[in-house]
């Protein structure tokens, strides 16, 4: 089986009560049957292959978390087909859970007042991980990150970075086929972020775990993902290699000019329609140019343009 996740025309609608304004409205709402349907996910079709790390991106409220909840089996899609590890997740939720790991950056699944090692032991028994596999996993963890200082620390005393790290380790402990990481680097400092990226990459390589990552940090995307899927307003608007992304709007370059008054002027240029040299010449007529830099467009900028401009 090559595919970890197969989604075909998956839609998810929520029924929301139409709330009215004011005190009178609130009383009216008590008996109101006036519902409106909100589509969180519209007709999403995608396939995630085994061992892939994919970046699942989209602006806030685009439907990312809803999709993840559908894939984990917590939400039932309104229509469409979905298979995770070859099974329908919402019909076999408990079974599906044995083969997936989940990290929500904002929440912890660890036992708050217990030292990390106790959470690990408990998860080992919950997922019925054989003793030897568990030992191997801990050995692998030791080789990838320095876990000694946190292993015997109660989770409540950990810093946010240590806790996120622990949560990721906990999600991989039973060697699941797929791990969902929902904004794992949210609120972390630069060095912790890079530590966590290295860890994810290392675990993906060693165990060939499929990783589905949602994030707002393009650094995560650049460091981890070969392929990205972008959704906006519930619809998939991009699904391809990260390299293709740079040419998504045409061949853009950032041109930086240092002017006579020592300020840098930045502009985005589409090389297909305008010539960079022409722009420089044009500028030179107005002001003296001291220095020139031509930069490749960053992932962040493309993504921002996609979010702001919607589809092409």
């Amino acid at each position: 089986m090559e595919e970890a996740v197969v989604m075909k025309n998956v839609c998810k609608d929520f029924k929301v009560l139409n709330r009215h304004e004011g005190l009178k409205g609130s009383i009216k709402d008590l008996f109101s049957r006036d519902y409106k349907t909100v589509s969180a996910v519209k007709d999403v079709t995608m396939t995630v292959n085994r061992g892939e790390i994919i970046g699942y991106l989209g602006p806030n409220g685009a439907g990312k978390s809803t999709t993840i909840k559908i894939m984990t089996g917590v939400l039932e899609p309104t229509s469409g087909e979905i298979l995770v590890n070859g099974k329908v997740p919402y019909k076999n939720r408990t079974e599906n859970c044995e083969n997936i790991g989940v990290v929500f950056g904002q929440r912890s699944q660890l036992w708050w007042s217990l030292p990390l090692i106790e959470s690990f032991k408990l998860l080992k028994d919950l997922y019925m991980v054989p003793e030897k596999e568990y030992d191997d996993m801990i050995a692998l963890y030791r080789s990838l990150v320095d876990i000694e200082p946190i292993l015997h620390k109660p989770v409540r005393q950990m810093s946010l970075g240590q806790r996120t790290l622990s949560d990721i380790l906990a999600a991989f402990l039973h060697n699941p086929a797929i791990v969902f990481l929902d904004e794992p680097t949210i609120g972390l400092d630069v060095s912790m972020k890079s530590k966590i990226r290295e860890l994810i990459l290392g675990l993906n390589k060693e165990k060939n775990t499929t990783v589905i990552l949602t994030t707002h940090d393009m650094g995560d995307v650049d460091a981890l993902c070969k392929r990205i899927v972008i959704i906006d307003k519930g619809m998939k608007i991009y699904d391809n290699d990260i390299d293709h992304l740079k040419n998504y709007f045409g061949s853009y370059r950032t041109l930086k000019l240092k002017l006579a008054d020592d300020t840098w002027e930045e502009m985005l240029i589409d090389e297909k329609t305008t010539d960079v040299m022409d722009v420089i010449m044009e500028k030179q007529k107005e002001k003296k140019i001291k220095d020139v830099k031509i930069l490749e467009i960053s992932t962040e900028e493309v993504i921002r343009k996609i979010y702001e401009g919607g589809t092409k």
Binding site: F14, K15, T66, K69, T72, V74, L75, E76, Y90, R93, T94, E95, C97, E98, I100, V102, F104, R107, Q109, W111, W112, S113, L114, E118, K121, L122, K124, D125, L126, Y127, M128, P154
Partner: protein
């Protein structure tokens, strides 16, 4: 069904309860104050009645009953309603639904550790003190074993009552009021605050067959050799009542929870 999973959850629960060691002492202290209050209240009731025996119970009988009822209450107490409403409101319930176990089973076994700790740290000491103070007013024999069995049934029945109330917060988005109503009903009708013998005849006839009695009154009656539990016949009747309610409530709780889960999975909670 793997006992290792369940034991692991119980073990973690024990460790978590022991972590909050101060809480245990506070509970013991609060109990002491409550019992002083109960003592003087019932002393006044007996003094004003003019007789030594009220409704077939002497003052000592009543005190033993109420002290042990409080002790049982402490170790059977569950916070399923609070915990579930909090985790639904914060969305944490998703993490519990993502455990490789059925939710009802998972939560039940997450609580057992706390019950074990409370049993040894509040019930057993209270029981020993009552034994010493009353100079053997409590029989110490086979009834202890029957009591333990009845307590396990009571625990499951209590859990199922909680599980019948807790998912209501999915529909109301607030549980405070519902929980207070539930607690009051359980405490009153189970005999935890007033011995059932003190109820008016007609009400007692009804209350006798309600599930709340199976939580506190039945284990206690068995321990104290009351309500005919000193005969095989009477004992079987009490266990029979417990088992019937256990089955009914487990089935009802299961159905209700499945509806509730449907609401989470269909409408996102």
């Amino acid at each position: 069904m793997n006992p290792k999973r369940l034991l692991a959850l119980t073990r973690a629960g024990i460790m978590e309860s022991l972590y909050f060691r101060l809480g245990i002492f506070v509970t013991l202290f609060a109990n002491l104050i409550y019992l002083v209050l109960v003592y003087y209240l019932w002393k006044a009731i007996y003094a004003s009645s003019g007789t030594d025996v009220v409704n077939g119970m002497t003052f000592t009988d009543t005190m033993i009953y109420l002290i042990l009822a409080t002790a049982i209450f402490n170790f059977l107490e569950m916070f399923v309603v609070w915990d579930m409403s909090r985790s639904i409101q914060s969305g944490k319930i998703v993490l519990d639904l993502l455990k490789p176990m059925r939710y009802r089973k998972y939560t039940f076994w997450s609580y057992t550790g706390n019950h074990v700790v409370q049993f040894f740290l509040t019930f057993v000491p209270t029981f020993i003190v009552v034994m010493i103070v009353t100079h053997g007013a409590i029989k110490f024999g086979l009834n202890i074993i029957w009591f333990l069995v009845a307590t396990v049934f009571a625990l499951i029945i209590n859990y199922n009552i909680e599980m019948l109330v807790a998912p209501i917060c999915l529909f109301t988005e607030s549980t405070w009021g519902i929980n207070i109503v539930k607690e009051t009903i359980v405490l009153l009708l189970s005999g935890a605050t007033i011995p059932l013998a003190f109820f008016p005849e007609k009400i007692r006839m009804i209350v006798q067959y309600l599930p709340f009695r199976a939580v506190y009154d039945i284990p206690l009656s068995i321990l104290l050799g009351k309500s005919g539990s000193d005969t095989w016949d009477g004992l079987l009747k009490l266990f029979g009542l417990q088992i019937v309610w256990l089955i009914v409530l487990t089935v009802a709780g299961n159905i209700f929870w499945n509806c509730a889960v449907k609401k989470i999975t269909v409408n996102g909670g």
